[in-house]
Subunit: 745 residues, 2 copies
């Protein structure tokens, strides 16, 4: 490698800086660097948590926790010349630098610091098939620190994924390119999930690892472990600070997700500067508390063997997820910007790029991949094909021996729904007993669990209120991972992101999750990513209005229906009774690339005449009508628990001789997608006398009721009292509908 000595000096300098940051002064932790080829570090010894140890301990580590083992360096079989490894790592660095530079936008610091981890994962550790990125049994990789996406694009490019060609790298962050500003699974084949908002990726990874553990437990046989892959994550300081990551990682520890391996890019820099200003906790100790195995790689910049040994150790720990804290230098290689926030989120600038080229001994033009690096990585195409072929053969064996299981697994892999599944949906007549839609939801979930092998989920510690338990299954737990009731604890945000991971693991996995509707506020960032990344998660949101009563305004949603109706690519469904709840589930199951939110009542509701599954599929439809010629005197529009009120108001008005149409408006999005003719048949333009009633914000209803219509709703916070009393005091009543209808018709 040309000019490698300058590279060496820089590395040494930066390494020393990283180490001094940790103030390691014990001789047993001394790291000796010996020459250009960066061989294994000598002198690095494991120092265990054994308190009786008589060895001198590191003086005062910056982040507490003296019980974490540093990696033991093992002699691994090396298949690749170290200089080629180094060259490959620098290729990753410069592809990232060059793409950010060309875009004049992006985050070069992380790819430069994490290139060694990235190289080792994609070149040495992970099992995947670049020509079939959807191969079921691939190892999953998540870049939770999504701003560093050029790292992943560079790796996908080297590994031979067709989705990231040289031209794509050159179009980084440009309109219509396959290399957007953060990793987006719907834009770039080979990217598993959508990250960028911090903490989401690590929680997605928990979901992916949960899915693997669940499917492995369900389908693996002593003679055929057909499901068997790891989930790798790179996350940064930002992810660590976010509460969602603590939630998800607490669950990962609880569930003992041994095949989840998270590499924590411990670079001490966040946007505002040194993490000292806001983040001085002991991450090590916290993760030990969460039940993880924790390893510290002190030299993530050039300690390739340390990284390899840590991953090997992590794989050997089967009953716990592993956090590998990898201390790195952000922007490694940049002589003037490394280890500073200035390299985090801006292009280096031509001058510094040049200096970095010189410093790392990189004589190539922008975007160049040296031939030997190219050649080295080219093996992943045949190797990946071979891995998949081997697995296919294994699956053929499996299919021969375990026919039914194979068919079930196949449907999970393909996402093909079993024929006639929708016949399982329960139906109701007006004579069926009144019930809360949360209970009707449970009937649907249990009916569907009989026919949908990929349905699994649970609640954020409200299973008995959200009514989400699948009766024929037990709890998904560390030692019973084959079960399908997931207990998320009071961790709404983590729950949503974990479900995104489950949904994106396999097209046939259909995760649902539940809490009170108002607490979508806790998980909104995850729900938005469901919508963006096309994860068909089903959000079972009960206690959907002031109808929950005494718990009061902190628990009563008001603006939530409106806030989700405004969100792109999501279905907000508010069924009114049994048939509509079944319809909502039909829609939710069919929409595998669009999440659904079901807003469900705590209180009992009657089974209304005129409701139907088919009606729900159209979003809005006529439930009852005594008009003719598509010319009612007035149209009453209700959703969910207020459809009943609209129906009763219509009865009263009809008694007084009015021609009244009642419309259920269960999903605005679905109605919007109908033909103009259908819309006109439900809401004729000529009829401006329209009254809507919904126990939530009236915001947005003007679009439906028009300038001359009336929207009855609640534009204030709720109150603590029995539900009936609040409805009355807030004017969500039949009388109010009748009065409004008379006023305008």
């Amino acid at each position: 490698m040309a000019a490698s000595s300058s590279s060496f000096h820089l590395s040494q300098a930066l390494l020393a800086r990283a180490i001094s940051h940790h103030r390691i002064n014990s001789s047993s932790d001394r790291i000796s660097l010996s020459g250009i080829s960066f061989p294994s570090f000598s002198g690095l010894k494991s120092h265990s948590s054994n308190p009786s140890s008589t060895k001198p301990k590191p003086a005062s580590r910056r982040r507490g926790g003296n019980s974490v083992r540093a990696t033991a360096v093992e002699t691994l079989d090396k298949t690749t010349d170290i200089s080629l490894v180094e060259k490959s790592i620098n290729t990753i660095r410069f592809l990232s630098i060059d793409a950010v530079e060309k875009a004049n936008s992006g985050h070069p610091g992380l790819p430069m610091g994490c290139a060694p981890m990235g190289h080792i994962l994609y070149d040495e550790v992970m099992r995947y098939n670049p020509k079939n990125p959807a191969w079921f049994n691939r190892d999953r990789f998540i870049l939770s620190a999504g701003h560093g996406c050029m790292l992943q694009y560079a790796l996908l490019h080297l590994a031979g994924y067709d989705s990231v060609q040289e031209k794509d790298l050159k179009e980084f962050r440009q309109w219509g390119s396959r290399t957007p500003g953060h990793p987006e699974n719907f834009e770039t084949i080979g990217v598993e999930v959508t990250t960028g908002p911090l903490g989401q990726g690590i929680a997605n990874a928990v979901g992916l690892a949960l899915a693997e553990k669940h499917l492995a437990a369900r389908f693996n046989k002593p003679d055929n472990e057909i499901v068997d892959h790891y989930t790798y994550v790179i996350l940064g300081d930002g992810c660590q600070m976010e509460g969602i990551s603590n939630e998800a990682c607490s669950l990962a520890g609880h569930w003992g997700l041994g095949k989840l391996i998270a590499l924590y890019d411990d670079n001490h820099i966040s946007i505002d500067g040194d993490t000292e200003i806001a983040f001085t906790e002991s991450v090590d100790k916290r993760f030990e508390g969460l039940g993880w195995h924790v390893i510290w790689v002190k030299n993530g910049n050039t300690g390739y063997d340390e990284i390899r040994a840590a991953i090997k150790e992590a794989k050997a720990v089967k009953d716990k997820p592993t956090l590998i804290k990898v201390t790195t230098t952000i922007g490694f290689g940049s002589p003037n910007k490394a280890n500073s926030y200035s390299v985090h989120g801006s292009a280096l600038g031509a001058k510094e790029v040049e200096a970095t080229r010189k410093n790392l001994g990189w004589p190539y033009e922008p975007f160049h991949v040296p031939e030997d690096v190219k050649k080295h990585w080219s093996r992943h195409t045949p190797d990946g094909a071979a891995l998949e072929a081997e697995w296919n053969a294994k699956f053929a064996e499996y299919e021969k021996k375990y026919k039914e299981d194979a068919a079930e697994l196949k449907s999970i892999i393909s996402g093909e729904l079993p024929a006639g599944w929708e016949k399982a949906l329960p139906t109701y007549t007006p004579e069926s007993p009144a019930d809360a839609t949360r209970n009707l939801s449970q009937q649907n979930l249990n009916a569907l669990a009989n026919v949908l092998p990929g349905l699994l989920g649970g609640s954020a510690d409200l299973a008995s209120s959200n009514m989400t338990l699948l009766k024929k299954f037990g709890d998904f737990q560390k030692n019973t991972p084959e079960e399908r009731n997931v207990r998320f604890g009071v961790r709404e945000h983590g729950m949503g992101a974990i479900c995104n991971g489950i949904a994106l693991h396999s097209p046939g996995l259909i995760p649902y999750c539940a809490t009170f509707f108002v607490f979508t506020d806790y998980m909104r960032a995850a729900i938005r990513i469901s919508a963006l990344c096309e994860a068909g998660v089903i959000y079972v949101m009960t206690h959907d209005s002031i109808g929950l009563g005494e718990d009061g305004p902190t628990h009563q949603p008001i603006e939530h229906l409106a806030s989700f109706r405004a969100m792109p690519n999501i279905l907000m469904l508010r069924p009114a009774d049994g048939n509509e709840t079944a319809g909502a589930y039909k829609v939710a199951i069919l929409n595998r690339k669009r999440p659904s939110i079901l807003a469900l009542s705590r209180q009992k509701l009657p089974q209304l005449p005129g409701t139907s599954i088919e009606g729900v599929e159209k979003g809005g439809y006529i439930v009852s009508d005594n008009s003719s010629g598509n010319k009612p005197d007035v149209i009453l529009i209700g959703t969910g628990s207020e459809l009943e009120i609209a129906a009763y108001a219509a009865e009263d008005l009809r008694k007084e001789g009015k021609a009244v149409r009642v419309v259920s408006f269960v999903s605005w999005e679905l109605f919007e997608e109908q033909s103009d003719a259908y819309k006109e048949s439900v809401l004729p333009a000529a009829v401006s006398a329209r009254v809507s009633i919904e126990a939530g914000s009236t915001f947005g209803w003007q679009k439906i009721v028009g300038s001359k219509g009336k929207a009855i709703g609640i534009d204030r916070f709720g109150a603590s009292a029995p539900a009936g009393k609040i409805y009355k005091e807030f004017g969500i009543t039949k009388e109010a509908v009748v009065a409004a209808a008379k006023e305008i018709s």
Copy 2:
């Protein structure tokens, strides 16, 4: 105490259960119970984290962490007979049981288990004046596990707060009562913040403790510590599971908030059952990792001296917040329901209430407070008055000696804004340089920091992007708490809730906090509580549209403006230039009981002719107009960065002879509050040709533009590309406005 022996037997049984749960088998941890009067436990010894200790250790504690000290029992000065303490505690239990029973709704389990902690805090530890709950230097108490609010109502009642009389207890959870279903500061005087949504309270408490530490550092003198109080919290397993609590507690540890003392009700039960099903992390270890002092009270049911000793120890630790893990039995005293989820959230039922009365030896009718208990608590009225009088005398001394400081502190205590403060707001002319509103925001913040002593805040690791640094101040840190730039790290949710705590500490504290607008999704639950609990937090939300460019759809808000416009009691402001930014700040500062969200641009915007502070105060106003008689041909309505586009479109249309009015619609809420006459003067009913333009969801705009108008916006997710390109591709252009205007006018 009558029938105390049955009480004793129960206590003993439950205690044994709680202890066996922890499988403590070391002789040094044996707890001996001796007789009815529950004296100090003997035999309980501190076992420290000293690894060289040769004492036998507890075998395998359920929640890991073997480094946490159990409380050492100290001989404290007892001023109260133990049987009276017990009676007081049972009074708290039965007031809670009776109120829940009467309401047939509520959560008896927590008050029954936490009554000992509650008694000790309110009767023995805390300093407050029940007849002036707003006394500035009071200790703050937060019930983070807000569902247990009957505990707090019972305590306020006993302590002599006028807000909770016997009649109020009898109206628990009823319409119009002062005892709603969760603690609400705006309903019940004496309640500090609004809790219920889990994890919020502990984060609020971090804010309260931050405020105390900040004010103490700013105002205390060696001879006069005028600011000096503690913040106490009770939180439960649910709070512990929520990510927000980890975020806030990580900051509390980082800041060394030594006067924050959190009692963790470790009762092993959440709604879904035993916490074993979803929560097996070592909370102790996690909190040690977060930099807290951790103490374990093994017997929270009857170990009063243990609780006392733990609080004493916590107060002695000055440089760290303390978590006291108090192991309790949920529903303590209920023979058939204690230690089960059934006692968490439902009334006990008449039969079980009776059994509990018998069990705890409670012969009184519902809601009865025994005379000796009443008499005992009655001292808090004179004592509280004396405490305040003493402090007032101290303040008088302070005022004499430190006149200026006293005046400043006074204004923080009273919330009275300094006369003429608004003159500090910067003004701009069309000749002022174009600038991003995020930069203009920083000019305002810095100008206001000169005149508002209570302004402090910061960003979630985006200070240099959100432009929130106050240049004349340093960072609020552990050793520089007198400074005003708060570094929240990447913890949006914790940040919002901490700011709620700061705002509710003193009327004159004006906290602001910042992140990218899209990440309001991470903190929405805290923002909603700002709105509900009337905390005038200022949310500085930059990068407010696709105008942020290359970071792409994960970072580009779309539905966010609509989602906040639908939220009650919050001001959503989107200023267009310098004058409007100043106007937005004026509104935000004046609205001390309503939070404000300022949506600010990343990109440069021109200073537009016609904009004004006064206009912003009206929410919507005419920026330019060439029509007469209030009859324009068309009205163009814009907000924020799109007002410029509307203005340019108007120029074009006017050149073609049209009479065009341009309206800035900076805050829908403020416009809604104007008189009908004013509204008509801006948006005359007769003019139906209206075009709105806003780089966000069109949801809701139909109300403004009417059925015949056009709303130009974005009803899909964004994209990764340079901002100008996205605007063009999405049709957020002058040309689109002109075309729409021509189509309808």
